[in-house]
Symmetry: none
Subunit: 203 residues, 4 copies
């Protein structure tokens, strides 16, 4: 956190923290709704109910708001993931775990789809954003791998398997939420998915 070095106010009092959070929320909403480039700082300030000037009291620049929005997003995604994987029942029963995880992924995706898309789209044009997303992936993968091990998983190639699983589940959640392919039977697809994942981890 090198904001200090760049003269950005670090709010100590509650009032200030509240205000900073309002700005982040406003950014969160607007980036979700119309994207980063189509959101302007005046709009953020207005929706946050603050003046344009004070935005620069809390953030170095517009991108700095984005970065903090991503942090919030990451926390929102990771927290329930930690919860879900915190205490896996032993012995590991993938037949019961995997459907639950898929359900969880769909829920998470449902409530974060817009901001996810908006933020993820910055990945290609901004290094810092890209790195944050990478670390999110790493974080998720590591969390999952560790809890599986803790719960007694002994198979090999765990990191690779976890990555594949994450990709599969996320792709499914995405397709499921948007439901854009009328010829797809998503229940059927979910069943196939479960089979594959169970196979991946138990074979």
């Amino acid at each position: 956190m090198d904001n200090k070095a760049k003269g950005v106010r670090i709010p100590k009092q509650e009032r200030s923290i509240e205000k900073k959070n309002k700005i982040i929320s406003a950014g969160y909403e607007l980036f979700s709704e119309v994207g980063y480039y189509k959101t302007n700082t005046a709009e953020i300030a207005k929706r946050a109910g603050v003046s344009t000037g004070i935005v620069y009291g809390y953030f170095r620049d517009k991108k700095d708001i984005l970065v903090e929005v991503i942090d919030i997003y990451m926390a929102k995604v990771l927290a329930p993931l930690f919860d879900t994987f915190n205490e896996l029942p032993t012995p590991l029963d993938f037949h019961s775990i995997i459907p639950r995880v898929i359900e969880f992924a769909v829920d998470t995706h449902k409530s974060n789809a817009e901001i996810h898309e908006a933020l993820h789209s910055m990945t290609s044009s901004d290094k810092e954003v890209n790195e944050k997303f990478l670390s999110l992936e790493d974080n998720m993968a590591e969390t999952i791998a560790k809890s599986l091990e803790k719960a007694g998983y002994t198979g090999n190639s765990l990191p690779e398997k976890v990555h594949i699983a994450i990709n599969l589940v996320q792709s499914f959640a995405h397709e499921y939420i948007y439901d854009k392919h009328p010829y797809i039977d998503y229940d059927n697809m979910r069943a196939l998915l479960i089979d594959m994942l169970v196979g991946l981890f138990t074979k």
Copy 2:
């Protein structure tokens, strides 16, 4: 093609078509390199070797260039896909098909990663772009499904399987190309992937 209705010239003469293509190419390059929002039309014109004004002779607006760039991109991706799946050897041998397809996907991704990212990132903020990408997916899925059927595939849930397969292969290609997770052994991952896909289609 509703360009006509909106007063955009439809170039008939070769010289004109050439010029239009130059603009699309310039857009293609620049969108790949720095993204849509950071590319300005003057730059596109300059790189295309035309005047800024004439750009609006061929395109309704900046986004219209993007749309045509996507068309080119889609053609570039679909053409080799058609080739690959055109004449599958019968009887179907997924053990030989799948590795080839993965190789093909990685190659395609390698040469199109940048533009893919740039274009895909527009998906969240633009309806038209989003639809194009959806139709690309549909197109790919349909092509693959049809050739499998033509080659005698009789399993059920084909559309779902194909979608899952596409997602998996693309995710792999993406991770493989960018190689951002040092703890991943990609050869290992590919082996797992092949197993899963073979299982998916033969089980």
Copy 3:
């Protein structure tokens, strides 16, 4: 002239040159009237009768306008100086030359006092401006020294004498124009000045 390198339009056509000159004139006037910092680019554009955008077609930034205004100013000051010193009558008669030069300096100062002050005031905060002013001084001193030598002046310490003379004459012109010290008899002051300068060059 590295404008080219930085993408600033170099107007070739008369219409364009005219427009560029209008912008410079507007800058000249406004800088004279209210100073550089209190002049904004929109005002310059408005007074020049052009759009704000096109200003940046001809100038890299606001300071670039200032630089070109200084060039104009320098030309305005130097041209009549060259005329005055071009063909000094021989033998040198400082008794006739010096009063003429003082008269000339007062006239020049009269028509350029405002812009001179405005530009000179930038000297302390901007390196480029400072250098331009230095080169103006050098240019004036050299011009005068050379014409004196050409006209047969043989005294020593010519550069030093010329510098002293320039300072004295400019100080006088400045005080004379502004006439801020009521207890000063400027005619008397001029007479003293002439004596000193004649003494300086003939003693």
Copy 4:
């Protein structure tokens, strides 16, 4: 002192006076270093070790700080001048006085060049500053003239001579300090200057 009328506190207590002086000092330093326009009030407050708000407890506005900085500057310049001219030895010996005065002027300039430039540059854009500078000149001229008279100087045109002398000496000090003209021999220049001034006052 019309500050009272405009609601600016007149600090009575020592603590307050100290604080006000700190602000002036900070302004002095910053105006010297980067100029008036490039200094912002937050910076002044920070360097003075006070809050931004209290600055407006002691000063009407930013310009008011400038005005008080000028007062300090004037005092700094005038005090040693008074000392120097306070008790001129009689009979007046310009051959000894003038070199001393030049030395004094150079020293003064050396330690005040930056702030002098910064403040003087405001002269053209601000009436109040301009008047302060004028009164400084008047004050200097009057001080010098009076002490010369007190020391028995009986020549005529004293105000004019003093003004010319001040201009000459200041111009020299300035050129000497900045040493920007490589072709100038400043010792030589000083010798010429001394001759001129001795001539001016003794002829």
